[in-house]
């Protein structure tokens, strides 16, 4: 797709590039619409951003689409040098219980501790606390049932951490089951019908 108003795009492209350089969080199309006072359409902005992504394909760093926005990022092959520069140790990866809990929250959000524990079959309080501390999940309210339990949902940081543009980038549970399980009956699939297209 090319830009309809070539002139406008030529003007805004370097501006967007400069904004991306200083941004500390992913810059969304909506952010940019606001910056240009609505004079530039979201479609035009998306086109310019795709062009930029393509232009950076041959550069030493990349422009990526992540967490509902765009940001500059390094390339994996330079990881060792960057870690040395930032004095970073190996990042502690998440434990299996943490990942399990996160995946349940990602697909069923908003969800409660009781619902998570019903699926995992084990107490999940400590895991939830860790995930809250790492800001991968957040509490978005209380469920209007007895006891008013906290409702958990995934965060922007979750998307960044796993390199996702949005929650619906995750494969559906149905897909996951079919890929690996092979034999899945209709009754089982109906279990996951609600979660075929996870929304944020």
């Amino acid at each position: 797709m090319t830009c309809r108003r070539a002139m406008v795009c030529r003007v805004i492209k370097p501006i967007i590039e400069a904004i991306l350089l200083v941004a500390e969080a992913p810059v969304s199309v909506a952010d940019l619409v606001k910056i240009f006072d609505g004079d530039v359409s979201p479609e035009e902005l998306s086109t310019v951003l795709s062009e930029l992504i393509a232009e950076y394909r041959d550069r030493s760093f990349q422009l990526i689409e992540i967490a509902e926005g765009y940001r500059f990022a390094t390339r994996p092959e330079h990881a060792d040098w960057i870690k040395r520069f930032l004095k970073l140790e190996r990042r502690a990866t998440l434990s299996r219980p943490a990942l399990e809990t996160l995946s349940i929250i990602a697909y069923k959000q908003p969800t409660t501790k009781a619902e998570i524990e019903a699926i995992r079959g084990v107490d999940s309080s400590a895991v939830l606390k860790t995930l809250l501390d790492r800001r991968l999940i957040k509490i978005i309210g209380r469920k209007k049932v007895v006891g008013r339990p906290m409702l958990y949902a995934s965060t922007q940081k979750f998307l960044e951490y796993f390199g996702l543009r949005q929650i619906s980038d995750l494969p559906s549970l149905k897909q996951i089951l079919e890929e690996t399980g092979g034999q899945v009956d209709d009754a089982t699939l109906s279990l996951f019908r609600d979660q075929e297209h996870p929304d944020s």
């Binding site: 941004a23 500390e24 969080a25 990526i64 940001r71 500059f72 990022a73 390094t74 390339r75 994996p76 990881a79 960057i82 930032l86 990042r91 990866t93 998440l94 434990s95 299996r96 219980p97 990942l99 399990e100 996160l102 995946s103 349940i104 990602a106 697909y107 699926i119 995992r120 079959g121 084990v122 107490d123 809250l132 957040k138 509490i139 978005i140 309210g141 209380r142 008013r148 906290m150 951490y161 796993f162 390199g163 996702l164 995750l170 494969p171 549970l173 996951i176 089951l177 690996t180 399980g181 034999q183 899945v184 009956d185 009754a187 089982t188 279990l191 996951f192």
Partner: protein
């Protein structure tokens, strides 16, 4: 002296069951319950022998397995079997199978996340500086009376640690404290629950402050908010 070791051998009862099912190459829709229950109990016994910290959840599952096993042994009359088969769900194992399949799906989803985690481990970007104003972008949650009482308890605990010095009668009224809270809010917009009590010397004063706060919340003049469970509670003017 005994030493207890906590190994992440199995995440939980479902994990152990899935391991057994896979190891025995069993069709998950047709689990030989007697056999699996036996192996499951053997594992539990082994875990206890190794002095592993076996959580109660493991025993709940053991009981469930035995219950299913006993139901399987009960004879069903031919005609009831037919009607039950039409319902499709009356196999005593059905609930367990559903639970196992659901758990397995999320476990695979978790693996998917692990792959992504590793793929992005070596990609870096400019991190948000930690200087953004306190609570700036956090989403706030209404706190319940229970949360307030919890926070109040910790204020009292802190006070309890202090040495008493001189005792003299004080006249502190709730009205005074209401004015105090409103003044503070006027001044700084949002104040933390604990800072309300930082200047308080006596239990009486603290209680007056709490009553004042509760009154203001009741009148919907102020709101109490918190960004996460057990986090600091903040007081702000009601919009």
């Amino acid at each position: 002296m005994t030493y207890s070791v906590k190994l992440d051998l199995y995440e939980g009862p479902l994990d152990l069951l899935l391991c057994l099912i896979r190891k025995n190459e069993i069709d998950i829709y047709d689990i030989p319950i007697a056999e699996i229950a036996e192996q499951y109990l053997d594992h539990l016994a082994l875990m206890q022998m190794l002095n592993l910290d076996v959580a109660g959840d493991f025993f709940v599952m053991a009981a469930t397995l035995i219950l299913i096993k006993s139901r399987m042994l009960l004879p069903t009359s031919p005609e009831s079997e037919e009607t039950l088969d039409q319902d499709g769900g009356e196999d005593p194992r059905a609930d367990l199978v559903r639970q196992l399949l659901e758990y397995e799906a999320y476990r695979k989803a978790a693996q998917e996340l692990r792959d992504r985690e590793l793929a992005y481990e070596d990609v870096f970007w400019k991190e948000q500086l930690a200087t953004s104003s306190l609570l700036g972008e956090e989403e706030l949650l209404e706190v319940s009376l229970f949360d307030l009482m919890e926070a109040f308890q910790s204020v009292l605990r802190r006070l309890g640690a202090r040495q008493p010095h001189e005792i003299f009668p004080e006249e502190i009224t709730v009205i005074e404290k209401i004015t105090f809270i409103l003044d503070q809010l006027e001044h700084s917009g949002r104040i933390s629950f604990s800072s309300l009590f930082s200047g308080s010397a006596s239990k009486l004063e603290i209680i007056a402050t709490l009553l004042a706060l509760l009154e203001l919340i009741k009148l919907r003049t102020v709101r109490a908010l918190q960004s996460r469970e057990f986090g600091e509670i903040y007081i702000s003017k009601a919009a």
